[in-house]
Amino acid sequence: MSVPGHLNFYIDPARCIGCQACVQACTECDTHKGISMIHLETIDRAHSTQTIPVVCMHCDSPTCAEVCPADAIKRTPDGVVQSARKPRCIACNNCVLACPFGVPKMKVEFELMMKCDMCYDRSSVGLKPMCASVCPSQALFFGTREEIEAARPQSAPIDRFQFGNQTITTKVKMMGPRSVAGARPEHLDVTAALDPNPPGRSISLGVLNGSR
């Protein structure tokens, strides 16, 4: 079983309404029963309602797997980076600290790293991951490229992310503008967006001011 090639996962944090449906639905997944793998982050509640659902981006060259001393993280041929193999994971926390997207969770009581595996029990048979199946605003969307292009004509998927000098390409795609200054944006520069004034991490991505 493997995730069908024509189905993709698209995320669009700007559409997230913070309803927590994905967090709850994630616990229903059979590969990590009862434990939610999604980080639903609130940017700055005092100043904004903006929230971000963070799922695994499934990197083509996963840093988490490369830095794992126990060789416990494997990427299946369909591009899904699986959760740590239970017999091997030694709970060193390397993957948690190395992931550029901040995805893996360390379950200290189990001495085990757990992470989003795109609900492999579902996606490997062509079903939507639990989070995408319940997201009311489609901030988390699982479907074909044609479907997302028809639904969001102003947006285009991006799968290249810049972290300092490092470029990471991913299986999961982030929605961005179709055109920036007349050209298709090639990547998302994540580190350029780090706020140099740490206390003020308040953003809303235009949800409240009606620009989207």
Binding site: P69, N94, V96, E109, V190, A193
Partner: protein, 382 residues
């Protein structure tokens, strides 16, 4: 033919050295093969191959940059002068909790724990009996003055003795039977989960997950059939069963270095990591370059930067001034998650032809509410 890498040659040399060492121990322990049972020679050669394979794979594994570093750090953390006594005190409890009781698996799932615990103890018991007997390290002799007793010889040296017909004798001579009961019970529980659990079904593979269970079951059941044959069936089909049992055991031994069984040798690294983490917690912490909150030990973050560089990753960041954070590893996981959304917002600003700001699309709700409740703004609203 491509030249062998230095890592491969080193691992191969270690494998050969370990194999020769075990072979020498067999010769010494069996008193120059005097107590070596020639019928078990197949087991011996399979074991020697397993020793080579396990040592080779372990050595290759240890030479991966992250494994090499944390292996070294684990020992350094354990033997560090200021923590050695604390570590020595903590070691027995951790060893018993993790390895003897498998408490971390118990917390994951009761049935998973039961399966693992039964299989583990069954295999340990069987290995503790089989290997010394196969190698001739242990043998039994009847003392000249008492034919009712057996004396145990270890490495050729006489030790305690017991009455053959006693309960102790029964327990010892049927040790492999008790081991197979444990293994079969564990395999049944594990197999049930593999056949019924949809989560397991999605990720399991035949070679990785089913084959080890099938091998353990085959070894146990053919061993029990041997006992049944000579105990109750006057040795019916004993020769055939002995060959089938030997084939199962030899295949399992040959499989040891390749599949899931290898975790038995990798797993103790968990203990070293726990001492490394203890030392990290007690030492200086890394403060996030973005939110100024501590999030990991300094030594761990710096080790990770080193490993990432060795692996060819380049998460270096060009700071705007000297104090700026120069590596992405100094940003905490939460700030990494948040900056993804910030970056998306900036891109949308650019897409709309607006000037990119550090806080794209910010709406300061608190400031708006304050402004709305102030007298000056109420007059504007009216």
């Amino acid at each position: 033919m491509p030249a062998l890498s230095r890592e491969t040659v080193r691992a191969g040399a270690r494998g050969v050295a370990a194999t020769l060492l075990v072979a020498a121990l067999i010769a010494i322990g069996s008193r120059n093969l005097a107590h070596f049972d020639a019928a078990l020679v197949g087991y011996t050669f399979a074991t020697l191959f397993a020793v080579f394979g396990i040592t080779y794979r372990y050595s290759m594994w240890l030479q991966r940059p992250p494994t090499a570093l944390y292996w070294r750090r684990g020992w350094q953390a354990f033997f560090s002068r200021d923590r050695l006594l604390i570590n020595l005190a903590a070691w027995p409890k951790r060893f018993v909790g993790v390895f003897a009781l498998n408490n971390f698996i118990f917390r994951r799932s009761r049935s998973r724990w039961a399966a693992h615990w039964f299989i583990m103890w069954g295999c340990l018991l069987a290995a503790a009996i089989t290997f010394p007997l196969v190698f001739g390290w242990i043998h039994f002799q009847t003392p000249a003055d008492d034919f009712e007793r057996y004396r145990v010889y270890v490495f050729g040296f006489p030790t305690s003795s017991f009455r053959i017909e006693s309960m102790v004798g029964g327990l010892i001579f049927h040790g492999l039977v008790w081991a197979s009961f444990l293994v079969i019970a564990g395999v049944m529980i594990a197999m049930r989960r593999r056949m019924r659990d949809r989560g397991a079904e999605a990720v399991q593979q035949f070679g990785e997950d089913f084959l080890p269970l099938i091998l353990l079951f085959a070894v146990s059941i053919t061993g029990l059939m041997l006992t049944a044959s000579y105990t109750w069936m006057k040795g019916y089909a004993y020769d055939f069963l002995a060959i089938v049992h030997a084939a199962c055991v030899i295949f399992t031994l040959l499989w040891l270095p390749f599949g899931k069984f290898f975790h038995v040798f990798q797993r103790p690294a968990q203990l070293g990591v726990s001492f490394y983490k203890d030392a990290g917690r007690a030492g200086e912490q890394t403060v996030c370059g973005n939110c100024a909150q501590p999030f990991a030990s300094k030594v761990h973050v710096e080790d990770l930067i080193r490993v990432e560089r060795e692996l060819g990753y380049s998460y270096e960041m060009q700071g705007v001034d000297e104090d700026a954070v120069n590596h992405y590893q100094y940003i905490c996981p939460r700030c990494r998650r948040l900056s993804m959304a910030l970056a998306q917002g900036r891109l949308w600003q650019a897409g709309r032809g607006r000037e990119a700001t550090n806080r794209p699309g910010i709406v300061d709700v608190a400031a708006m509410m304050e402004a709305a409740s102030a007298p000056a703004t109420t007059t504007e609203l009216t």
